[in-house]
Amino acid sequence: MRKTLTMTVLALSVLGMTAMSAAAEDTLKIGYIDPLSGGGASVGEGGLKTFQYLADELNAKGGILGHKVEIVPLDNKTNPQESLIQAQKAIDSGVRYITQGNGSSVGAALEDFVTKHNTRNPGKELLYFNYAAVDPSMTNEKCSFWHFRWDANSDVKMEALTSYMKGVPSIKKVYLINQDYSFGQSVRTEARKMLAAKRPDVQIVGDELHPLLKITDFSPYIAKIKASGADSVVTGNWGQDIALLLKAAADAGLKVNWYTYYAGGAGGPTAIKQTNLNHQVFQITEGIPNSGYQPAVDFEKAFRAKANMSLWYPRAVNEMRMFKLAAEKAKSIDPVKVAAALEGMEFDVLDGGKGFMRKDDHQFFQPIYISSFGNLTDKETFDEENTGWGWHLVSKIDTPQTMVPTTCKMKRP
């Protein structure tokens, strides 16, 4: 009996060995480094499906410069060290483009790693396409030539939100509640700064930072919000922090408007529907399914049919399509040439409108949408997570109103 353990262990090691696979020479591999197991897996798997769908779409039209696009999934377990190990594995197996989005801590570590690697290994450069890590420092003091960001960073989103709030006179008292880490802190700092500039009459009646993903009962925070008399809450909370916050609010009967970044993330719509907050929860995104722009609607329909989920990342669509355009412009898939072609590029984004990749800091700017979650009108055909409710367009902020300055001093090769 005891010996079987050694056997089983050896058998499993053999299983591990079958991970070696040699790919065909003419495929263009993109390493997708995000959590595929553990806590962040639901989000990571969604992203993987999105990228695989996009790769299939590109391959159906001949790939990139004749090369077939292949997405290589690399599980980083939302851990920066693990991400570096996976990036190294990717490099060792010939990957020259990586994309990642979940977690700015991971993103910052990857950006640093890629910069160091490229400096130490000329000729073996790697490009890092960031689709969701929104820490502003990645395109400010820590910017890098080898990093491109397609998601509006949190400062840009706050700029768009405060531009919208400028035109809503009913907002008088704002409560800020955020997660206590770099992203949450940047949300609150920028909210204060920008509101003071655009709506000095708005009173900030509360400013709360709570530990990340540790609180199970938000009712004390809800009690504080109630006590402050706020009519609007601005929060960058995501994951269970937004779900539990909204639940506690519904339980206590709190009637305010919620302006969020990530209420629509995995599980969010279910939580909102459960708490019955109809068109009280707003979100800032770069695209929504019910935008009414026909090519986007067609894409969403086809995507939902095949991938069995709604499109979380319109920016991933922009990323992959721009990648193809950049390669064609540079007539090469060499990372250095593609990078040179990508920066400064203008592009018609998925949901309609013009966006461009700013050369100074490699941040992509695009129209931003404010939408609210609730029951749909007849023209709006897309609901979320089978709840029957969906995102309704409230306001579209055009690209010029989303611009923020940068402190980036980019070192070019």
Binding site: E141, I204, I215, A223, A271
Partner: protein, 333 residues
């Protein structure tokens, strides 16, 4: 770099009424959270006091209770699920004891702890395999989905009162069982003289299996009930696990009343800490900016509400220094 922004809350000077409101609400919330903790730790204490086994997988049984409750609610409704799900979890607990713990009992308590540790890992992964990693849409039953009463303009959901009632009932039932029934006498004897109990001829194996099953079932009940109130997700166990251990060490290993007091205390402390915005900076004014970003600035500026989730661990360290066997502990392991 971020500008130096003080972190204390910008709540305007509160009137007496609002302070009273916060105190009352925090007390009620603290008691509710504490009762949930007690519901969880009661099972763990019973298992530990009887068998000396620290069930690392206890929070996993709690999670199983929540997921079974969710699935059964979908198929047969909440109230049947409330009865059936804990029984299922209890059965799993008994199987674990019979086929797992019994054979490694001879290797000592550390080996038993390690077995339950591995079990916790495996259970979490099996649950995420079957149900996925996103939160489940586990609803409060329609019968209880209304505000029970209003305190200072905050509604209290009836469901939370239900949770309170169930936890209280279980505490009373456990206390009566332990003090008045025969099985309870055996368990109490096992608290202080475990070997003698075996010598007296009780079918130790069967009793162990039953006790482990009951302990697991208690965790299952906690899961079924807490599922709709909190997020039912596959990482539930890892979030609540460590606090559970703090509760039973704080209350005293093997003492049910100790666990009750400790749960309430920790629940209240954590809830009140969240409500408070005090910090050294708030009390004594901001620090001289020449200190710059450093440890001293961090400690100076941190608010009590930011450290609220780690307060239980601080309490753990304190109790270990001051009174190592816990508040009401009767057994020095």
């Amino acid at each position: 770099m971020l500008e130096f922004v003080p972190r204390n809350n910008a709540i305007p000077d509160t009137s007496e009424c609002i302070v009273l409101e916060l105190i009352v609400i925090s007390t009620i919330n603290g008691v509710l959270f504490g009762m949930l903790l007690f519901l969880l730790s009661s099972g763990l204490t019973v298992i530990f006091s009887m068998m000396g086994v620290l069930n690392f997988a206890h929070a996993s049984f709690y999670m199983l209770g929540a997921f079974f409750g969710f699935q059964l609610t979908r198929w047969i409704g909440f109230w049947p699920a409330l009865v059936l799900a804990p029984l299922l979890v209890g059965a799993i607990g008994m199987a674990v004891e019979r086929y797992g713990l019994r054979s490694i009992h001879k290797h000592g308590h550390v080996a038993e702890l390690l077995l339950t540790f591995g079990l916790a890992f495996a259970i979490e992964e099996i649950v995420s395999m079957i149900w996925g990693k996103s939160p489940m849409d586990y609803r409060v039953p329609a019968l209880l989905d209304f505000p029970a009463f209003t305190v200072f303009s905050t509604n209290y959901p009836a469901y939370k009162i239900f949770m309170l009632a169930v936890s209280g009932a279980i505490f009373v039932a456990l206390l009566i069982t332990l003090k008045r029934t025969r099985v309870g006498l055996i368990v109490q004897a096992a608290l202080t003289h475990p070997n003698m109990v075996a010598h007296l001829g009780h079918n130790v194996g069967r009793v162990f299996m039953l006790v482990f099953g009951v302990g697991a079932a208690l965790a299952g009940v906690a899961g079924v009930i807490a599922g709709p109130a909190l997020v039912t997700q596959s990482d539930m166990a890892t979030l609540l696990g460590p606090i559970l251990f703090v509760v039973i060490v704080f209350g005293g290993l093997g003492s049910l009343s100790g666990a009750f007091i400790a749960s309430l205390f920790i629940g209240l402390v954590q809830t009140f800490a969240v409500a408070l915005n005090g910090s050294l900076a708030g009390a004594f004014g901001p620090l001289d900016p020449s200190f710059g970003p450093s440890i001293i600035t961090d400690i100076w500026n941190v608010t009590i509400s930011q450290i609220a989730p780690i307060l239980p661990y601080v309490l753990l360290v304190l109790i270990l220094i001051v009174r190592p066997m816990g508040l009401m502990g009767s057994r020095e392991t």
